[in-house]
Symmetry: C2
């Protein structure tokens, strides 16, 4: 079993952003709207803000314990027009009284660093390039890029967001059979569009897929991208040599944080795995910052 | 082998539209922009216009033999603002000198009766309901609805666009394994979003899927929706009892018009098939008219 070192990847992406921000003398700003009492979200919010500051992005937290759709629409309007704000996100999930779609729809596509505005999604499905894409989806691609690059020269070097790495990824993904276990607008849906662009054959499974069918699909796929939060959904008896397992799941027990994959007994298999924690998670935060810098450079109002 | 009678379905949808238009005393109008010299398109354009008039929709053809992106953008602007026009489409493909995406992006989502504007696509992927959807994708669902309804009471009655039929379709599609052989923005992509809403597990294959893999996927699926234009892509040796084959392919030889499915030898199998011609094709035209009436009723400017 080979491990994709998400933490290392994230650090490299951050270093690159830091260099860009210093060299270009730019001042990007990320705003995070965090509403409600979802405590799980808090850890992510804190990390996003801390890492933003580390690379030289100003970060502002708008903390709302009680709010309404109307208030959030007012805030999006202000942020859309604010020349200082390069990009902003709504930390999801929002409280149940909020019309989440309506708020997402009102985020300016130029500042939509989570890629959730319908125009961002529509452009992605139209294979356009001038839009922002879900940081989670991009993080999955970065992890696959690592595998592609490693397989190419048996060692991985720093410069991972390069044209060359993109070509290696395209070559690696070409004609691959991919299983997505997630059909959300943050993970499964943007990844479907991206992987089709890379000429992959894509299967989208989810909680309504029967277990025996899911087992068969896992067995039949070259790459499995799982984001269910269901501990032990994938175990050693379901996988085989040559597969890549991208674990985007997160669940917390009293003891520890884990993903969808139970890696016990996989040690001697010739597979790739992104661990949880320290796999896709930190790369996602890094790609959110990358989106923020991208939005800033392209012009924000 | 049981045949989905597309022609009959189309006639029933048309009759229903005719009744609505007369009862409601409305005057919907469909405009078709037909640019270039693609002769295959001509037949479709003529049929759309003829059928529109049959049901009481005014139909206007804007015929352009030579055009530019700028001219098309001017036309979309005029049509977007025209209170008489309920909906309009660009007959695709456009000539190669045209930036097709840029023109599609400028169709008002309210009049986008082919469902190709990025906002229409983005809303579809967000599981919203207040937008227009590709007529081809809707036609595929209508054909599946026919199968669902037939299986339920062993005979099909007229009133196919009803709440009850929708529930039967939902029950029929629930947990089904579906193979799409097409990943275009007109067919495969909207169908992916729709079928996920119906809790299907969806695989998207295309011309980059290797033949042996495609054979395996066809064998493994409950419903196969094929739109490649490749004659004989699916033959009797690849399918088995219990499957539904939706043939959206069209190809013309000197002798005849055919689809992706070679039905020879399938006669004794317990399968459903939409024939070509007279399957999904006429239902697509009927659903375009249905979209036009829907757009008209919702308000067009």
């Amino acid at each position: 079993m080979k491990i994709v070192p998400g933490d290392k990847l994230a650090q490299e992406i951050k270093q690159k952003l830091k260099d860009t921000i210093q060299t270009e003398e730019i001042h990007p700003k990320l705003v995070i709207i965090y509403a409600g009492e979802n405590e799980a979200s808090r850890i992510y919010v804190d990390k996003k803000i801390a890492w933003a500051k580390e690379v030289g992005i100003s970060a502002e937290l708008i903390r709302l314990t009680q709010t309404t759709t109307e208030e959030l629409l007012k805030i999006t309007k202000t942020l859309n027009e604010d020349a200082e704000t390069s990009g902003y996100i709504l930390q999801l999930p929002l409280p149940s009284n909020i019309d989440t779609y309506k708020v997402l729809e009102n985020i300016s596509p130029k500042k939509d660093v989570d890629g959730l505005n319908p125009i961002s999604i529509g452009k992605l499905y139209h294979n356009q390039k001038d839009h922002l894409i879900s940081a989670t989806a991009l993080a999955v691609l970065e992890c696959l890029k690592y595998v592609a690059k490693y397989q190419d020269d048996n060692q991985y070097s720093v410069d991972e967001i390069t044209q060359e790495a993109d070509e290696l990824l395209a070559e690696f993904l070409n004609e691959k059979n991919i299983l997505l276990i997630n059909h959300s607008i943050l993970v499964g849906k943007p990844l479907t569009a991206l992987l089709l662009q890379y000429k992959c054959t894509v299967t989208i499974a989810h909680k309504f897929t029967k277990p025996d069918r899911l087992g068969k699909l896992i067995n039949d796929s070259d790459i499995i991208i799982s984001a269910t939060g269901q501990s032990g959904l994938i175990n050693k008896d379901m996988v085989h040599d040559g597969q890549v397992l991208i674990d985007v799941g997160i669940n917390k027990s009293a003891q520890k944080i884990g993903g969808d994959v139970d890696a016990k007994g996989m040690e001697n298999l010739d597979i790739w795995l992104t661990p949880v924690p320290d796999g896709v998670g930190p790369v996602t935060v890094a790609m959110l910052l990358n989106n923020t810098v991208k939005a800033h450079i392209k012009g924000v109002v």
